[in-house]
Assembly symmetry: C2
Homo-oligomer: 248 residues x 2
């Protein structure tokens, strides 16, 4: 089985080219491929299928075999693959996901994706502090802290939410750590970076449309809460290896 | 850069074919390849070099970039690669390592390696219990417990030793968990399985020469403390993928 391995700010994926939609991607197969010791290893699978409507479809699976609608870093790696494989040219692309059609711009060093609208909810209480609730298709709670490093091991008292801890670095520049529900702390989270910037814009009372630099443990993203309410996520997305998996 | 990925009882390695010894394997390159998110991922690197004496040399590096003399599961994966690549035939092989020449038998489903002599030392105290000290080229302390599962998180009070916790399953059959110094609990440890069997033979007062089944979290090994004092380690060793790494 042909595979590629790629990552966006160290959120990593096994890419499975399957243009003609012939591969039966069972939960067992997903778990075997994503196993970091006995398989290839990854946070998830990106199966590349050409849809009947002519759009590329991203069949995204979590490492545990479950189906997910969307993945902000995954869709960026997916787009990078299409361009590197010569299936698409650099520039604007539309990609179909279970979370709808995504608008993507593949550039030389980065890939930008329109992550859709942010929905801000009522504040929630996390670790005894008021957090900004932001829904990006999945639920986030954003806390402002003096230092993300000083937090030590992340163990929020709300396990039903993705929790972002945000520190101000400079104007339009934040640093973030994220605890993903059901996973724990991760190196990066695309929707989490979007939620963090939305919460920061609200906290600072500045207008939308400003590009923020977001430092995550796995690298650097650029996030803009646009004037139309959508959030754009931009950052590196690279293919690091390709090869053949010897099916067990 | 051409690579393969393989594992022995889920102790996993990046194999780098470099027959003519041309590759400069820096610590930085080792860490980049072994990075489980931004690289290929592995517990170590096995660089395959043909020595001037005609023997294959195993240039083994730990994931942190340091040099190690030997690795019991690594040498088995190395031998499997040689046979799968057509560089050697199944059967007996001699492989050169920094820990000396190793005698290896590559079979259909398993690979057996002579791990050399076990040196039994004075008992040591671990977690307030007397443990059997066994040196297999690296230091081990083996504790006998009623249930390895009941131990929960392994956190021995001796961090300078590899500590094996051993449970009796049946005649000539043990189950083991291991805490490797500088690493933490791992899925498997070849020298640890050898030490565990040596300590069990001594504890039970049975003669050498009996083959033991050793269940580790990553699979099943067979270990024999031979009458000549050497310990043989046998178990599965598989190549699961091969491909090209896009050097960063």
């Amino acid at each position: 089985m042909r595979f590629l391995k790629g990552h966006g700010t160290e959120n990593d994926f096994v890419v499975l080219p399957d243009v003609d939609d012939r591969l039966q991607l069972t939960g067992e197969l997903v778990r075997a491929l994503c196993d970091r010791r006995a398989g290839i290893g990854g946070d998830g699978i990106l199966r590349v299928v050409r849809g009947q409507d002519g759009l590329w479809f991203m069949d995204y699976r979590n490492a545990d075999g479950s189906i997910a609608e969307m993945c902000g870093n995954g869709v960026r790696v997916y787009a990078r693959y299409l361009v590197e494989a010569g299936l698409e040219s650099e520039g604007h692309l539309q990609l179909r996901t279970r979370g709808g059609i995504k608008e993507v711009d593949v550039k030389d060093g980065t890939v930008l994706v329109d992550m859709g609208p942010a929905v801000v909810g009522d504040p929630v209480d996390v670790d005894g502090m008021p957090a900004t609730a932001v829904d990006m298709g999945n639920p986030h709670a954003v806390l402002h802290v003096a230092s993300v490093e000083a937090l030590g091991v992340l163990d929020p008292d709300r396990k039903d939410l993705n929790v972002e801890y945000v520190e101000d670095v400079a104007d339009n520049h934040i640093r973030m750590r994220v605890h993903e529900r059901g996973v724990g702390e991760t190196r990066s989270c695309g929707t989490g970076a979007c939620a963090a910037v939305v919460a920061t814009v609200l906290r600072l009372g500045i207008p939308r449309g400003t590009a923020f630099t977001v430092d995550v443990p796995g690298g650097r993203l650029t996030v803009t809460w646009r004037e139309d309410g959508h959030v754009s996520l931009e950052g590196p997305a690279v293919i690091v290896a390709e090869g053949d998996w010897h099916d067990a």
